[in-house]
Amino acid sequence: MELDLSPIWDNWRYLLGGLGLTLLLSALTVACSTVLGAAIGLARCYGPRWLKLPLVFYIDSMRAIPVLVVLVWTYFAVPIVTGVSFPPFWAALIALTAHIAAYVAEIVRAGIDSIRPGQVRAGLALGMSGAQIVRKIVLPQAIVRMLPAFGSILSITIKDTAIAAVIAVPELMKRSETVAGQTYHPIEVFTLAMLVYFVILFPSTRLVDIFYRRVAHLGRS
């Protein structure tokens, strides 16, 4: 098997641009889904009773439907329903955020549920208000406990952005596919893409692990 790396040298700017878009899409998705997911998770734990049912339905539906289906539906079907069409990048951001926010919401809920109810009662006994208890007792501990799961959200998001290639978002996966198809050198190009994804994902999961070990004692109770 002869390896020919010239397709990579010839297209490295194009591939690097794809990597930039992968990282941008990942960062935006993580930011948006953290905000949205935290809001949903908090609303599910502390919100009014009538809100819980639709939120649980949304979360469980997102756990049941593949992200590919959400992406394709957002890109092709939403314009038909609403008459508003998005460029692939924004459609991918919306779909990935909708999908990953559900997972974030579950993490937030699990973190809050893991704080023993005795702590809330102790706070009440000391005369704190509900909001004070959440802000000063529950959340500071719960957030530390959520960290490892947030770390996996980071790597899940980066991996899921590769699926956005199916709606032609020109990120690393899509551009690798294009270069592989045009140059007839899929072996070199896809192997390079594998190495690049690994080099991004492996340290990011490791760094989160190390960071968590540093702060884990803050979440003990």
Binding site: M1, D60, S61, R63, A64, I65, P66, V67, L68, V69, V70, V72, W73, F76, A77, I80, V81, S155, I158, K159, D160, T161, A162, I163, A165, V166, M173, S176, E177, A180, P186, I187, F190, T191, A193, M194, Y197, F198, L201, F202, T205
Partner: protein
């Protein structure tokens, strides 16, 4: 906007076949990936350095790659690298197995590590071999802790089978997208696809919650 939902009913046979293939892919992948995960976990925990390192490399590599890329790689690179041409279905199955075996291996390793060291020491003290102790003492207990995680992996796998549609394996997503491009009933077909996945996936997600409640280990 005129909608024609009859297109979904007309193609019910193909959609059903696609759904069955999705289920078949999920079942077959798990059948291969559970034993493979056990073997990888035991390799990782063995005293042999090379075995342990080989397992760690495999697991970390496939855990840290987007599955869709592994699917493409298995389709374009693997036949050249090992010299055997597989059908699209087998290629998709191999890609899913590589990915899920890596996850399962971590699940089993965590399960085995969660059993206190004293149990292994006690087994060795009463004269069992390491392998006997693993089989008769550790694994039966670890199994209970592993089951909820395996159930979650199952649901993820069920959803991830949709990704092999990119190499034209005729499972549910590929079938629905094909019918969409033949009939141009985009909204109807995509909604039907989402609805079928939902109908199959929702009960599984609920079942996983139940398994977590029943078997989950509490502090």
């Amino acid at each position: 906007m005129s909608l024609d939902w009859s297109v979904v009913w007309q193609h019910r046979g193909e959609l059903l076949d696609g759904a069955l293939l999705t289920v078949l892919l999920t079942v077959l992948t798990m059948l291969f990936a559970v034993p493979a995960g056990i073997v990888l976990a035991l390799m990782r925990l063995s005293h042999s350095k090379p075995l342990s390192a080989a397992s760690a490399c495999f697991v970390e590599f496939f855990r840290n790659l987007p599955l869709i890329l592994v699917v493409y790689w298995a389709f374009y690179v693997m036949p050249v690298a090992i010299g055997i041409e597989f059908s699209a279905f087998t290629t998709g199955l191999v890609a899913l197995c590589l990915n899920v075996s890596a996850y399962n291996s971590e699940t089993f390793r965590a399960g085995i590590n969660s059993i206190r060291k004293g149990q292994m020491e006690a087994a060795i003290a009463v004269g069992m071999s390491r392998w006997q102790a693993m089989r008769q003492i550790i694994i039966p207990q670890a199994w209970r802790r592993v089951l909820p995680v395996l159930a979650s992996t199952w649901v993820s796998l069920f959803k991830d089978t949709s990704l092999v549609s990119v190499i034209a394996v005729g499972e549910l997503a590929h079938t629905a997208l094909q019918i969409r491009s033949q009939t141009f009933r985009v909204l109807e077909m995509l909604t039907a696809m989402a609805a079928i996945y939902w109908l199959m996936g929702y009960p599984q997600a609920k079942l996983v919650d139940w398994i977590h409640r029943k078997f989950g280990v509490k502090e």
